[in-house]
Symmetry: C2
Subunit: 278 residues, 2 copies
DNA sequence: GCGACTTTGTGCCTACGTTCACAAGCGGCT
DNA sequence: AGCCGCTTGTGAACGTAGGCACAAAGTCGC
């Protein structure tokens, strides 16, 4: 018979493949400390939906920007516009983490930031290790945006002998054989894989062995991990292909009409965006 | 009263904000669509669902790998395992683009590749421009994975005088003032923004003015664009925060029980292959 | 102190996406 | 030639997410 596809030539033990779509479902937020307005719902499984978590992170970023500008409070309308979402959706997202708004007024920026940080687990710093200090790894190691948001990059790994000990972004590169020791010592909780695709699975295995339970993968491969490990992937080629899909759709969807490729100069188009009245 | 949040200090004209969650949903085939809201009967919507498009890109990558290994055909079971999805989902995804399988046999790798490429619009090369040749921009410009997948990077832009004319990844950097001319000449269809956040919106506006209708944004800001423009964003901080959320959940969810953080060495966990129960 | 106004929080409904399960279709074997 | 087993393609069930619309709840003005 014709030979069939085989996902992996080596007889790798089957483990749960990981896609970003994994269940983020969360049980109750119930740290039960505060007053617990208790609208009458039982405290049973108050799960935060998948998509809501991602948006909370965006709200947090927007709110941080507002705080820097000394903004004290926002309405759901304003915040949603700034975050690019529907205001009802925003309110619902916020309701998942509790009731921290004041009717007729809005939300206090400071309070919202604290609460979102609490839910996202940002009260504790998450130490990050980057593996594969090539083009991308260098950029990541040098990026100041991570430490600034509670994700200090504390360890770098590679196999290239020339890189050993060389500091990148202030941190010396270690050999991947040291992953267990270094990750343990620096309490790494998140591993970032920026190696060539062929090495990604092996690196992933090492990180998992070292106790890292969260992995951000830039290599275009589907990693196999135990189900206790959370993997998110960033695949730029896929992003580009999705954009390409839209180009194609648009091309054969409206071929005749709208031949004017010139979009409104400097925006001004799409006035009915998300609300933004006022 | 306390001042309220204001998404943008400048009186930027409101445009449609863009999130990745945006509608990828392909509008119905409705070429002559203006018939009426088609009450009740759903037209044979040839729409490919949001999520399916992203997965098709993944399937394509896996299939390419198989082709390289001279694999001639695959079953949905095999392909889905390699792509990390449920086999039923895979079949449904493939069904959106047509019926190219053979019952009792599977799919021909070659045929599937051609068809997915067709649907994703990869038959035509999509020229990419990168703006902001800093840490990240360099990595992107040097990355060989894009040209290899039909996305040649043909233009680079920055404002730094020291970078002008300097070739990165074989392409000389141009000034952003040249965006219109260069993008037109090189038929750029996709713009990648890798500038500091503060410059992102202005750069985006320029790209849009130049006729670029697809944008991949790495800056942590919500871009406002006309609705004719498709924006996808890659926000690494958000990815890390989502992972952090999982750490937090796990921590206060199973504190007593299952405290064994030791993951199975080298995998071996999750014995059930893909699919399995549920 | 009270009413009018503003904005939250959420019930409900719709749309979308995922999964199941199985009939239909095809190749190979006898 | 006909049957058998395998795999596709998809209808239907189920679950999740999105969005409207409104009652509840608080503030502000008078
Ligand atoms: N550069 C980009 O812009 C970009 C874009 C999208 C995806 N990616 C993906 O990110 C990954 C890294 O890309 P890059 O451009 O930085 O590649 P690169 O070749 O520049 O760097 C790879 C690094 O990994 C190291 N390495 C190789 N094998 C290793 C191993 N077994 N363990 C640890 N380190 C190892 C190499 O020494 C090198 O330093 C690749 O999988 C690539 O497909 C990169
Ligand atoms: N480096 C990373 O790993 C990383 C990770 C996540 C997000 N990001 C985001 O990606 C973006 C770029 O990050 P980076 O680390 O490469 O920054 P960087 O500072 O290294 O590079 C920014 C580049 O943009 C150029 N630039 C500044 N203003 C510009 C303008 N108006 N038009 C064109 N170019 C302009 C600068 O000259 C510089 O070359 C930032 O928004 C950052 O938040 C980067």
């Amino acid at each position: 018979m014709a030979q069939r596809g085989q996902s992996d030539a080596a007889g790798r033990p089957p483990r749960a493949p990981a896609e970003n779509a994994a269940e983020i479902t969360t049980p109750m937020p119930a740290i039960g400390g505060n007053g617990m307005p208790a609208p009458g719902l039982r405290d049973r499984a108050r799960a935060i939906p998948e998509a809501a978590v991602a948006r909370l992170a965006v709200y947090l970023r927007v709110l941080s920007g507002m705080r820097e500008q000394a903004v004290a409070s926002v309405s759901s309308e304003e915040l949603s516009a700034a975050a690019g979402v529907n205001s009802a959706k925003l309110r619902k997202d916020l309701s998942y983490i509790g009731s921290y708004g004041t009717r007729g007024v809005g939300y206090e920026v400071e309070v919202l930031i604290d609460q979102i940080e609490r839910v996202l687990g940002l009260t504790r710093e998450q130490s990050v290790a980057v593996v594969g200090i090539g083009n991308l790894g260098h950029a990541l190691a040098n990026y100041g945006g991570f430490p600034g948001r509670g994700f200090p990059v504390t360890a770098l790994f590679d196999v290239d002998p020339d890189l050993m000990g060389v500091p990148v972004g202030g941190i010396p590169v270690d050999h991947i054989d040291d992953i267990p020791a270094v990750c343990a010592a620096r309490e790494v909780t998140i591993g970032v894989i920026a190696t060539p695709p062929a090495a990604a699975q092996a690196v992933c295995d090492r990180l998992v062995q070292a106790g890292v339970e969260c992995i951000l993968n830039f290599a275009p491969v589907v990693l196999q991990v135990p189900e206790t490990v959370e993997v998110r992937k960033v695949d730029l080629a896929v992003e580009l292909q999705i954009l390409s899909f839209h180009v194609a759709r648009r091309a054969d969807h409206a071929p005749a009409d709208d031949a004017t490729p010139a979009p409104r100069v400097d925006g001004v188009a799409a006035p009915r965006g998300v609300v933004v009245r006022r």
